[in-house]
Chain length 398, copies 2
């Protein structure tokens, strides 16, 4: 079996070590004392550069980004930010944008080049696109299987109860290969929290699938919905297999109420995804983690109908999470990093994640003294290894 030693690798602790990889896994990690004892087939000298575990992208939309294609100007909101209006705008844009397969490939290439080795994408399933988007993204995923692990969420972008035939389409999506069942604002969008969650949790049970629900609803409606999700998660024994994306409500309420909600989420094994948005409240990351909640990170939209921002860089996202959370100390910056790496791996139930013997050899090499510096500087020059193989260097796939 071919054996590669990545010599002179700086770990987050600052320690220099040699990492032996074979069959795509880390076989040994030994202190670097200037020479490699074994006789591996290949030695890659990392010259003391920092080695980080591959980044975990917890939330993108591979089907709807325009990244890499012609610029599409954002449409002003008529009155506040209306999800229905955005869905219509997105529908119009899909007709003029490059083909979905081209766009999805460009987004995956962007994410990989930035160091993401595992990714969760929502894919729209509704009465208008049916299962066509999912078919496309499943095909694209297959062609990228050696470069990145992709989980797909069957995402009812137009609601479940409001969009005729959607429950059946979601069921079919899970048969076809979607890994998770999604949801969207059971209160404000479908106007029926119970009815919406009945379908989501029912399909999850039928298919043994995990759940990841978009919840933009703020304030007390959002908190109420989170409580309902927690309650169902526990009663169905789905702890550790349910995530809520955005959950802005946790940032709307005061710290005491957020702490109570956090305690409930932790006890229920429901994780929370945030991208640290710029202009709305978002979950208090440190407070929730202190309660034991798995808070994971995602880019969310990357240059699409919902906003023009996003660069697919989860190390930059860690910076943004820290910046928005007022994280200043090394320990806080390391917390932001954990959100886009290990916490993401827990939320996504990744197998063999981490920089440790037995884990998959997915890692990123870059210039920084330690994790804290990597977060604030997030240098763009990186080498990305998937299963021990160099897949991207300095922003380009190999």
């Amino acid at each position: 079996m071919t054996e590669t030693v990545f010599a002179n690798a700086r770990l987050g602790s600052g320690q220099l070590c040699d990492i032996t990889v074979s069959a795509g896994r880390i076989q040994a990690m030994t202190p670097h004392d200037g020479h490699v004892k074994m006789r591996p087939d290949t030695i890659t000298d990392l010259s003391g550069r920092l080695v980080l575990p591959g980044f975990t992208e917890g939330h993108v939309h591979l089907d709807t980004s325009f990244y890499g294609g012609p610029w599409i100007s954002h449409k002003p909101c008529t009155a506040g930010f209306d999800v229905h209006e955005r869905v219509t705008f997105q529908h119009d844009n899909m007709a003029v944008a490059e083909p979905m397969e081209v766009r999805a490939r460009k987004q995956l290439e962007l994410c990989i080049a930035n160091g993401t080795t595992s990714l969760r994408s929502h894919v729209m399933v509704d009465g208008s696109v049916g299962l066509r988007s999912l078919e496309t993204i499943l095909r694209v995923r297959e062609t990228f299987r050696d470069l990145i692990d992709v989980q797909l969420v069957a995402f009812p972008q137009s609601g479940i109860l409001k969009s005729a035939g959607t429950p059946g389409l979601l069921d079919e999506a899970l048969h076809m290969g979607a890994d998770l069942i999604g949801g969207l604002d059971p209160g404000s969008f479908d106007r029926d929290v119970d009815g919406h969650l009945d379908v989501v949790f029912g399909l999850a049970q039928t298919h043994g699938a995990a759940i990841d629900i978009h919840l933009h609803d703020g304030g007390s409606l959002g908190i109420f919905t989170l409580e309902e999700i927690c309650s169902r998660t526990v009663s169905l024994g789905m702890q550790g297999h349910v995530a809520v994306s955005h959950a802005y409500a946790l940032g709307d309420v005061g710290p005491d109420e957020a702490r109570r909600a956090g305690e409930r989420l932790a006890r229920s094994g429901v994780s929370i995804m945030t991208n640290a948005p710029g202009a709305v409240n978002f979950p208090p990351v440190a407070l929730l983690r202190a309660e034991g909640v798995t808070v994971f990170g995602g880019s969310d939209n990357i240059r699409d109908s919902w906003w023009p921002y996003g660069d697919g860089d989860m190390l930059g996202r860690a910076m943004m999470i820290g910046y928005r959370s007022g994280f200043y100390t090394d320990a806080e910056l390391e917390m932001a990093f954990d959100v886009v790496t290990s916490a993401g791996a827990r939320a996504l139930n990744l197998d063999g994640y981490g920089l440790a013997v037995g884990c998959r050899a997915d890692f990123v090499v870059l210039d920084a003294a330690h994790v804290a510096e990597a977060v604030v500087s997030h240098p763009r020059d990186r080498c990305v290894y998937k299963s021990g193989r160099l897949v991207a260097r300095n922003g380009r796939l190999c």
Copy 2:
């Protein structure tokens, strides 16, 4: 006189043109029709890349950054964020960091490489450092005079009334070559709004110097202080020569009160600097601009005793200003760009700023279709021209 034509330059409007430069100024801008009519000494083909005016960095601290040197971990705050505590921490750090001259040079190099061609820096003047920091930064400024225009603010980091001898030191600083007189939280720090402003405006009058006051004080105390600053500005006829940095209070109050304050600021010719901080309220940029206020941008601290963030990239800062302000449309992204370019030039009273005939040939060339895309992508590969001369390319000084 040597004449250079920068051919095939894409302007923010999308139009392609040829820019003729001599004696450091733009002499002509003509539509690019595939061939250059004149016979210039040099032709630089910009190949349709986007040309932007040089960026305006409205607020840094050249004396206190650690950027480019060994990492210094941030110290946790004991109880909230206390300015006195931070000043002590900074004092301790200055003893172990690299020499100030080395650090200031690295920060200027960083700013220039990112495309900044004009910059305002505050420099600490107080009883402990006296005028030594200013002497150092004046020396550094002199060695960079062909690369970047630097304005220096004599900044009473330890207060004016609380720090014995500071009024005399500030007076001496203005004699030595500081361009502006600074201030710091007249209410919460010096506990005497009138007494503090008496010294600041008095010295400004004596020296014919402009003013740039740090105002972190939030809520009604901050608004009260802004009103006092406006009142003195008008009564002394200093409209257009007074700036307030941070002014978090404008983000603390509701939109009606912010609008009233904005109307007063506009009428008084007092400009507002923001860096769009991540975890505190900050001035509502679009609302204030609608009232006619000059809102300009700055990095503020770049990796120092106040926070670990900052990269000296004003195009990235425009992205952050847009991200934090909820700017999504092209017009909004262009507004964020204006904050770090033309609005900054107005606030800094720069002579001959802009991409127009007669202006100084300070510009940045990069890959983007237009201003909106440049803001969201803020690509790091850039060519920076100062007075028509290439001074930095792809992150490094030439």
